[in-house]
Symmetry: C2
């Protein structure tokens, strides 16, 4: 252990190589409840791409696993330490290298925080859309590694849709540039796209070029209250069926809303079991018509009330509550987060199945959802220290995954596979497709050092 | 040769295995002028995914190369025959399997013609955007293999942005499904995305699931006339710098316009050396303001005239001319098509360099361009049988590639590498990145049978 760190300090500025167990252990896991994690040999806080290159070369020569990480806000255990690994934190590589308004792109180091990039772009009249709920903390590098989604994805797509190019250290320490700066380009394989969502298993990203959009138009907000999940789900399907593409269509239940309010005293009240928060940013009369049509869909699906929000502060508070639901619930107990995504027309059925899973396994499941995408986040809540409840939560978690697959869905819409969804991955993908994953992994990571065992590794290992 | 065909006829319905040299040779090349092509052993017109699976298994066992092809409208030689290969035509697998309005997706066989899919979607109030100029003839399978672009890509993205899933036959005959039907999903590597644009080198696509959009809003058209390419290029940069995202921004020069008019008698007249055709489909007053702003950009950049087209038929005729430019020019001589893409702000400089290349190499270069994307298609025109002119055309072709790279551009924006851009690929990509291509290719095509030598093969081979 010490020998390894000593060797590293000859390659990388000594202060960036950390072995203090208290510090290293604080970096040993992300926010995925109950995902296993091991004991790292060292933590490297990279300050440059050259640090990363030197580390990869070193680890490849010795077969030492590298677990790259951003802010550690992941919910699948993708950044969790492996025994004897080097934890590679990219959080100090946090420079916005360039914002180019003419080409509508930004170049950033991986440790730039999502909201910081958005704010910097806004200063140029530009917009970086992908907005995971973790945006105040999570980094662009982590977002790229997991292909993070968010609230506006229903209209504007996910992280993948914005990554033009990456610089990465791959293989045995080769620094490569993948992708392009131009609006279009088809030279060779889309290896840049292959890196996106690969959860650190194919190399370490040291710089990212993202596409930007023009400043976001103002949004109109429509809120609907529903007696239950199923009716809210019907409203979601109705919005889709009506051909409306909202700029947000979020679901939050009373439990989550109240948990946020108890924490933040935002003066929120649900007046309903489930709220749908719809938005449109289409300008002019067309947007006005969309908002009205969305409200009509809510009512027709059985909303107990539906209102166009005229108070921007109130509307923003509701969306802020949606974003804060996960940390608010964490204050109240242990939260196991699901992330299934189903065809939009089957959202009502999937929400009904989630309720059945809660009853069948005697566990409480709160719900938030990027409902317009069919991306549901049932939150399974247990009291700390209750082993039996924990077992029931695990069974509900597995049940929900199986239900999503039965409906033609996927086990992870945006959080990634990490450790927690490995069983789900093997249930979703054909063995021949898993074999392709192994072939790609072996081809691009010949030393087997990049986050080994994650994503498509043996879930029993 | 005959033995191979006889063996194939035991696996695949006999009438689908063609050895008639006249027929086979008609399938031996795409529309890339001067790209080399060999003599195929047989042509297989697949009728089903099972035909493809049986063929791949057979060829993998014997090391026989397979060259898949759609309609053969490619412009880089990607579908050209290799000596002793089996040409695999997918054009008879032309069924639209499903259009799902609720999920906004379509499932098609690879041989469906691009315009046919668009028309079928329109019947459901939906829209499949990618619109290469070859859309009346080219197939979705070919579009996916090359990641085809088109006119509306400046606002709506390229084929890649619409492919949700593919079924493909890979490796030694494994039929796999890659991707998903849900709006979001991040399970495992984006192997579906890796197949897009891989030009038949990683397997054969047998079914494609594409994302759709709602029916397209009506467009406003702005036409500007310019004295020369450079001024038109300045107008393009000005539109981008103004933050306008047009739904089309095309360039066509007088030479192309007159060539189309001589062919089709459309009554077009340029009244200028270069036309810019801009469109916006933003609804309402915002769209009106965008059209006016685009017209102002044209004027400020030195347009000799600029007009909002009030005559929809006239506007459509101009765009039709843009689409027909390539075949119209082919009637007049031999046309070597370029496909470089540069940063949008450098469009004026690149257009100036194209003119310099024409003068330096004493060759005529006409121009069409997806100007709003920085994707330029200089068309190098020579008289058939003039060997010296052909040499000069080649030198101009290489010069333009080198200029595009010098400006931070790419050697192919949307046509693919095929055979013609292999030198360009090696000039654009670092050897370490080419090594990654070989690693992926070897991993996913262990028998080395899928379109070998294309894309990143040795350009001298």
């Amino acid at each position: 252990m010490t020998a390894l760190a000593d060797d590293l300090r000859r390659l990388i500025p000594a202060e960036r190589v950390v072995t203090d167990p208290g510090v290293v252990s604080a970096y040993a896991r992300d926010q995925a409840l109950w995902a296993p994690y091991g004991t790292a040999a060292a933590l490297v806080r990279a300050g440059s791409a050259e640090d990363v290159r030197a580390l990869v070369e070193f680890c490849a020569a010795r077969g030492v696993p590298i677990v790259p990480r951003g802010a550690g806000t992941g919910l699948s255990g993708g950044a969790n330490a492996l025994d004897g690994c080097v934890l590679l934190s990219l959080e100090r590589m946090d420079r916005i290298v360039e914002i180019d308004p003419a080409e509508r792109l930004a170049v950033v180091q991986p440790g730039v925080v999502n909201d910081d990039l958005r704010a910097a772009c806004a200063g140029h009249g530009l917009w970086y859309p992908p907005d995971p709920a973790s945006s105040p903390w999570s980094t662009i590098g982590g977002n790229v590694a997991t292909d993070a989604g968010g609230v506006c994805c229903v209209k504007y797509g996910v992280t993948r849709d914005y990554v033009l190019a990456v610089e990465a250290v791959v293989g045995r320490g080769e620094a490569v540039r993948l992708g392009r700066r131009t609006a279009k380009g088809v030279v060779g394989y889309d290896l840049c796209g292959l890196m996106v969502g690969s959860e650190g298993t194919l190399g370490v990203i040291t710089e990212i070029t993202v596409r930007l959009r023009g400043a976001r138009p103002p949004e109109r907000t429509v809120v609907g209250g529903f007696d239950g999940l199923r009716a809210a789900g019907e409203a979601v399907s109705a919005v889709t069926a009506a051909g409306i593409v909202p700029s947000a269509l979020e679901l939050i239940d009373r439990y989550c809303l109240e948990a946020v309010d108890r924490w933040k005293n935002m003066g929120l009240s649900a007046d309903a079991e489930v709220l749908l928060l719809g938005r449109t940013d289409t300008p002019g009369e067309t947007g006005e018509a969309e908002a009205e049509a969305m409200a009509a869909c809510f009512k027709d699906a059985g909303a107990t009330w539906s209102a166009r929000s005229t108070d921007q502060a109130e509307a923003d508070a509701l969306f802020a509550a949606r974003r804060l639901a996960y940390p608010a619930l964490e204050r109240l107990g242990q939260v196991l987060t699901e992330d299934v995504c189903v065809p939009r027309a089957l959202v009502p059925e999937m929400l009904a199945r989630i309720q059945r899973a809660a009853r069948a396994h005697d566990t409480h499941i709160a719900n938030i959802a990027h409902a317009g995408d069919g991306n549901l986040h049932p939150l399974i809540i247990t009291r700390p220290g209750d082993g039996a409840a924990r077992d029931r939560a695990h069974r509900a978690f597995d049940q929900i995954i199986d239900d999503a697959l039965a409906l033609g869905g996927t086990v992870t819409g945006e959080h990634g596979v990490g450790l927690l969804k490995r069983r789900g991955l093997h249930a979703e993908l054909d063995p021949a497709v898993v074999a392709l994953h192994h072939a790609v992994k072996n081809a691009l990571d010949p030393a087997g050092i990049f986050n080994p065992g994650k994503v498509f590794g043996d879930p029993a290992a």
